[in-house]
């Protein structure tokens, strides 16, 4: 078995209109910039995919990555915890104009909803947001004298992620704090596509060091010199 795909365009070919797409990363750390930009290229060439629901901690920064997807008009809704950044104008302008939806989820709840989906747990209870506006309309229960809010799993059609090492079976490692949501998203999506800085042969990643086991990964593409979103921001790059 070899999960390698030959190029970025092939890697994102299966992402269709209206899908829920999880995008790895927290701010620029772990953002799969090349996969996102390949998706934008396809949209610009073909008009698809559009009406996407994008799941990420944030809602883009500047004129690159998720912000460039929003600018291009591919995103119908964001599910995130913090739709602000150093330069949040792409999301802010569309949100205030009523042109993009927002489901605001506390960060730990977002992570656990994604984890639950990957683990086959349809709902769980968390203390986060109890008694706040965010909990309105959600079931509440008391356990051992404390109140908790019921939250549901969050699944996706596709996850696009950035890894450091991948072997051809899809076993992954990440670089520093870039792992953040990615191991959870890999398990929660029906199809998981990964850009890795290096693709190696099975056995070349010590099994003790595998962070995401290959069972959660469907396609890997090598991007040997990946761009870092924050570095691009500081260079003033716009992807348009």
């Amino acid at each position: 078995m070899d999960k390698t795909v030959p190029n970025l365009a092939t890697a994102v070919a299966g992402i269709e209109d209206g899908m829920v797409v999880m995008v790895g990363g927290f701010g620029g750390s772990g953002a799969p910039i090349e996969l996102i930009h390949a998706l934008i290229d396809r949209f610009k060439a073909t008009g698809s995919p559009k009406n996407l629901t994008v799941v990420n901690n944030n809602a883009g920064n500047g004129r690159i990555g998720i912000a460039a997807m929003i600018d291009a008009g591919m995103v119908a809704k964001m599910i995130c915890s913090f739709p602000r950044s150093a330069d949040p104008r792409a999301f802010t302008e569309k949100y205030l104009a009523g042109e993009i939806g927002l489901e605001l989820v506390p960060q730990g709840t977002l992570a656990e909803r994604i984890r639950a989906a990957g683990a086959g747990i349809p709902a769980f209870y968390t203390p986060a947001s109890y008694g706040t506006d965010v909990a309105k309309g959600k079931p509440v229960a008391e356990f051992d004298g404390k109140h908790y809010v019921q939250e549901r799993w969050l699944k996706a059609d596709v996850a696009i992620l950035k890894a450091e090492l991948a072997d051809t079976l899809g076993n992954l490692t990440y670089r520093k704090a870039a792992r953040n949501f990615s191991p959870l998203m890999a398990a929660a999506a029906a199809k998981t596509i990964v850009q890795a800085t290096s693709i190696v042969q099975p056995g070349e990643i010590d099994p003790e060091h595998v962070v995401t086991p290959g069972i959660f990964v469907d396609g890997i593409v090598e991007v040997s010199d990946p761009k870092q979103e924050e570095a691009l921001m500081r260079e003033g790059v716009a992807y348009a």
Partner: protein, 223 residues
């Protein structure tokens, strides 16, 4: 008019209560300053929501690695014995009661421990981040804040008027004028500026202060 502590001095005061080896989360912005004022010989282990334990100060300009950031998206460094983990483990540390202290900023804090620090109302783009998770689970949830708003209104109130972050979650408040514990849904005064009378402090506090027999002097070095 009585003087007050600077933000650095409020952060310094909060740092004095952090034990050696304590696991601590500092909210983004003002609370991050607490890390600078740990007493000699006491080294806390700092947690950040995006999956790092035991990070150190910011790197020198030009030395940043943007894959190594904190929850405020600022570049950080690692201390020996640091660890990386994914977001679900990170918030498991939060909600699971594994952190000793969380220190947050606030718009309002109420005598019943309610906290409002994420939204000033329905205008603009709402953003909550990890605040609603962080207020649950740490053994101590402390707030650092100016005692009053910029236009002089109390930030310590009977009940919050702004959207809540969490219910009954705050245990200690460090302000520019005083240190207070929240016990039995009341503000208990522990320390105040020596230059200020209890009556003067009560006048700028939006809920009734409980006055124990011993009230310490709130004194911080020039910083």
């Amino acid at each position: 008019m009585t003087s007050k502590l600077s933000n650095a001095q409020i952060a310094w005061r909060a740092a004095q209560d952090i034990e050696d080896g304590a696991y601590v989360n500092l909210g983004i912005g003002f609370p991050e300053m607490v890390a600078k004022f740990q007493p000699p010989g006491k080294q806390a282990i700092f947690h950040t929501e995006n999956g790092v334990l035991n990070f150190g100060e910011a790197p020198a300009a030009g030395e940043e690695d943007w894959d190594l950031i904190n929850a405020g998206k600022k570049a950080i460094t690692l201390r020996p014995g640091a660890a990386f983990f994914h977001h679900a483990d990170s918030f498991g540390m939060v909600r699971g009661g594994h952190l000793d202290v969380a220190i947050l900023g606030t718009y309002e804090v109420a005598e019943n421990g309610d906290l409002a620090n994420w939204s000033t109302g329905p205008k603009g783009v709402p953003a909550v981040g990890g605040a609603m998770d962080l207020v649950h689970g740490a053994k101590r949830v402390a707030v650092i804040t100016d005692h009053v708003t910029k236009d002089g209104k109390p930030k310590l109130v009977k009940r919050c008027s702004l959207p809540l972050t969490g219910v009954g979650c705050v245990t200690r408040v460090y302000t520019s004028l005083a240190v207070l514990d929240i016990e039995d849904e009341r503000f208990v005064l522990r320390e105040k500026l020596p230059s200020m009378s209890v009556e003067e402090l009560q006048a700028v506090t939006g809920a009734e202060l409980v006055l124990p027999d011993q009230i310490g002097d709130l004194v911080a070095p020039e910083l």
